[in-house]
Amino acid sequence: MTVVEVLFLLLGLVAAGSALLVVTTRTMVHAALWLVVTLGAVAGIFLLLAAEFVAWVQILIYVGAVVVLLLFALMLTKAPTGPQPDLDARRALPAVAVAGLVLAVLGTTVVAGFHGVELDLDGAVVGSAQTTGATIFQQWVLPFEVLSVLLLAALVGAIVLSRGTGRRGGE
């Protein structure tokens, strides 16, 4: 077993375990903090899979921005900081069944479909900032520009939604 495989197994265990804690913990703030651990472990796996720039973007955007947004939302909605007994729906069994079914279908599909296929990471082109930037601005520049319009629309939409209803002029 190589170093990469050992590291992948460790990071995978951390990611799966903390993801389970995200969806099962009774304290809302802890869920956001466990999400940081999950996203960080997935960023480490991205590094192992030769996707360097994606890993740093994951750290910057997800851990830096998204989790902070989630924490702010928890605070602004007056989320209690202590453990809450009623965070989950009363009947959790259907959710467990559906999630288990999803895992069974997806898991058997990927294991049956790619059993024995080796992921060769030796000599793989590392997706550094230079490589990724050259690719985005040469081959994928049109989707990139469309995404900037999408971000602008989301920005305007978020501002309109959070401006409130009472202070709109003329209504």
Binding site: V23, M28, L35, F46, V54, A73, T77, L103, V117, L119
Partner: protein, 110 residues
């Protein structure tokens, strides 16, 4: 490394995200489940990018695009959650039934 290791981890994260979306009652925690699912998709994209040795780096580029879309989604989603909190006083998704289909209009005009 066998290719199915990252793929199975991605399936596992996706299933955990599905469970979180289905079982949580707080809308912010539901959004956390959505984030887990989007991350599982990213892991899949990056794993296949490494497997195919794509010269265009389509997998990694799409993973970046998914991250951008997730950022836009979380911004809009949290704006909606805050708006719901302002109008209802709580963000329990089980109690939001204004959009349900009913025989007669039971909800008074707001």
């Amino acid at each position: 490394m066998p290719l199915w290791w990252p793929l199975l981890l991605s399936s596992l994260l996706f299933a955990i995200g599905v469970y979180g979306v289905l079982v949580r009652r707080n809308a912010v925690l539901v959004l956390m489940g959505v984030e887990l699912m989007l991350n599982a998709v990213n892991l899949n994209l990056v794993a296949f990018d490494a497997y195919f040795r794509d010269v265009l780096h389509g997998g990694q580029t799409f993973a970046l695009f998914v991250i951008v879309i997730a950022a836009a989604e979380i911004g809009l989603g949290l704006a909606i959650v805050l708006l719901v909190f302002r109008t209802h006083g709580q963000i329990d998704v089980d109690t939001m039934r204004e959009l349900a289909d009913r025989e007669e209009p039971a909800v008074a005009e707001r």
